[in-house]
Symmetry: C2
Subunit: 109 residues, 2 copies
Amino acid sequence: MAEHPTFPAEPVPEELPADELLYELADLFRVFGDSTRIKILYALHDRELCVQDIANLLALSQSAVSHQLRVLKDSKLVRFRREGKTVFYALDDDHVRSILSMGMDHLEE
Amino acid sequence: MAEHPTFPAEPVPEELPADELLYELADLFRVFGDSTRIKILYALHDRELCVQDIANLLALSQSAVSHQLRVLKDSKLVRFRREGKTVFYALDDDHVRSILSMGMDHLEE
DNA sequence: TTTATATATGAACGATTGTTCATGTGTTCA
DNA sequence: TGAACACATGAACAATCGTTCATATATAAA
């Protein structure tokens, strides 16, 4: 590395996680990085909702919601169950709530 | 949705956080949603580094690193201190490490 | 089957993003 | 001063993204 005075004794050279893992991590956070998806996740924070309910609640088109739900589903952030013609979506697990909560904590500093 | 009574006997979890807050949250996660920035954050996980060291370590141009450090700085994810001609960057606080860690946990499910 | 309803999806378009290249700013030392 | 070094920044371009629109699929009821 470059030559410059290092004041504290520097610990062992740290290694980064594998590149592939870092790409996956960025991909995951990118999913959280859109306000429509964030709104959908918060709408599902404490209950399950069907597609049209989400669209009505957030004043979005059915198509836009459906497209974004697919993204959320692919990232395993939401799960769904079909009941007749209706499909209900819910947060996949508490992990999702934790990530949202951590982000909120950072904003409130 | 439901109208809330004057004295709610139960918590009202169905309410979404204010729109502005949700936009800020999405903006925050968007910063984590790029592999270059994720790599920089991990490079700084346990030490401070100057710009050129980051560029060398991650095989990136000085300009690209500098641009991304500005994004990270604007989001309060990194802090910096100047020492002569050199500028050292470090993670701003443990919060950043927590968010990274939460994301990794989700991937490892 | 036919019709109605709920959801999913493909194409396309405008908007945003991350990089490179060139240059500007700030600091040190001769 | 002036040269050299470390870093920051503006413009521009390709690539990616989220929406709309049109249409497809799936289920239920008639």
